[in-house]
């Protein structure tokens, strides 16, 4: 029976036919758990994300899934909610389930968990960011630093000289990189960044909300703000509305990550678009290359995908008079 179902072997015609009929009748399905135990492969991909409800994440997940479907794989998605403890649990459960490969958007403290995975010979890739002490695992990402720098240069080209940023936890690689890009652009333009204009450690839309309120409550507001990601930007929009601050007349804003709806916001949000879906599928390809033995787990396999600065209308040109206004 096995032979007719799994194919490959040669079976007599009548036997084949009898078997398929019986299978139809009982609508028998082979037990994948038993098969997994026997073969040592489960056909499962583990995907650890911070929050599947984040559009960027969901898109990436979709990219990975589509890649998985081609090979008859399925994806086990778990959200860590930026909690390192939770992340460790999830990674452990991936190991327990002996998923065939793992992709993860780490909080930044996943070292042990990842070590276990590679020790168990489970192909692993990082998405978006690399935890400090996890080398030897490929990473699929965009160039946060230079994308952020370009975005801030755009602000500076518009005449802004007093900039602010709302950023994520310093320990998160992308947050650090985007902040570094922000500072790099300022430095090269000879601009001083007021420390109080850089608010770090925020996550999620209500994090963005709080961060923007803090900036708006500053004695002297910056004229432009750079947001670490889409979620923070959404929260920031809420804060702006509450305070009656209008983009771009009262403040300019630019954000990392783009969304279907950013073009339709009032005003359309200038944003740095990342190819989320492609990031996910690239991660999938890397994983399958390794599973197929095409590539080893060697380093040097990082994939850097391009970003695109989409200039819309949330950033205003600073006029001489307005600059003067602020000085007084």
């Amino acid at each position: 029976m096995v032979r007719v179902l799994n194919g490959g072997a040669t079976v007599s015609a009548d036997r084949t036919e009898r078997v398929i009929r019986a299978v139809k009748e009982l609508d028998y399905v082979t037990n994948g758990v038993a098969a997994g135990l026997s073969r040592g492969r489960t056909g499962l991909l583990g995907l650890l994300v911070s929050d599947i409800a984040n559009p960027f994440t969901a898109q990436a997940a979709r990219g990975l899934e589509d890649e998985a479907v081609r090979r008859n794989y399925q994806v086990l998605i778990s959200s860590s909610d930026f909690d390192p403890g939770r992340e460790a649990q999830i990674l452990k459960s991936f190991a327990r389930r002996t998923v065939d490969a793992v992709a993860l958007m780490s909080t930044g403290e996943a070292a042990e968990g990842v070590q276990r995975l590679i020790r168990n010979g489970i192909p692993t890739v990082l998405i978006d960011r690399r935890p400090p002490d996890v080398l030897s695992v490929p990473l699929v990402r965009t160039d946060s630093l230079s994308a952020a720098r370009d975005a801030v240069r755009h602000l500076i080209a518009l005449g802004h000289t007093d900039l602010g940023m709302i950023s994520g936890p310093p320990g998160m690689a992308t947050a650090a990189q985007r902040l570094a890009g922000f500072r790099a652009a300022c430095t090269e333009a000879g601009l001083r960044v007021r420390p109080e204009c850089v608010r770090e450690g925020f996550l999620g839309s209500e994090g963005g909300h709080r961060a923007m309120l803090e900036i708006l409550d500053l004695p002297v507001r910056p004229t432009a703000v750079f947001s670490f990601n889409n979620m923070l930007a959404v929260g920031a929009l809420g804060a702006l509305r509450e305070r009656g601050v209008h983009l771009p007349e009262d403040l300019s804003m630019i954000t990392f990550d783009d969304t279907d709806l950013f073009p339709f916001i009032d005003p359309p949000l200038t944003a740095i678009a990342q190819p989320a879906y492609e990031i996910g599928s690239a991660a999938g390809k890397l994983l399958f290359d390794e599973l197929d033995g095409i590539a080893g787990p060697a380093a040097g396999r990082d994939v850097v995908l391009p970003t695109e600065l989409r200039v819309r209308r949330s950033c205003a040109q600073v006029t001489a008079t307005r600059a003067a206004d602020r000085i007084q």
Copy 2:
């Protein structure tokens, strides 16, 4: 060893200690596949959605996941992309993997797949919509019909008398219900709905795009349009922009589903909010009730969650003069 790891049995102190030390040293993790085979339970929940990248879906998935995490379960998410064939495959693979329970947002033709699940004794719940011939499985949803009717009543109260709708495939229960609600509101107000103003069969944002273009190209445009869901609405916004049609002066629009960003759109979109997260967690609770033997797979367990009409500024009052304009 088993006894110390799994607890329950009584084991001598030194043995316990030696075991845990050895486990630590080798960082041994029990093989979940083998355990699953032996116990007949995998600790897996299957979640079949149309598209995990849809924000509504992602939120619901998150709700289900959070409920699952409490019981040490994980969620296997698969996107059908509204393809019945794909959906059948996924359901079959859920059966093969012997997931412990399944939640699904069906395309509408999942009868066979679901039958197999219940025959195999796998607790199953429907989310959002019930395929025509699948009874005997509980459904978690909102009241599409009355929510749609209320929304359209809102339009009518504003003075609109010539309404349009862009809807999903007629075979999708929610699409049918929302359209029915639309018609009900019109009928009770004595309004005639021009057939060409009802565009059915669209999905995804580019579906919404096409549908809205069709409406805009009508010889006589309706004054207000009701959108079946969030994705269609996003596509519709793009179409409006292309054609230079402005909400709400040139056209009023209202949509099923709300989003973080709809309040910030220009103009803020009036929308019917569904508690997506709660829908997901309710589905999870139903599933676990059945797994825990608290409840049988009996019918009558449907859960209907409330919606909320969030009136913003995408719908205009129709003035007598403007109505007159159209007549000429």
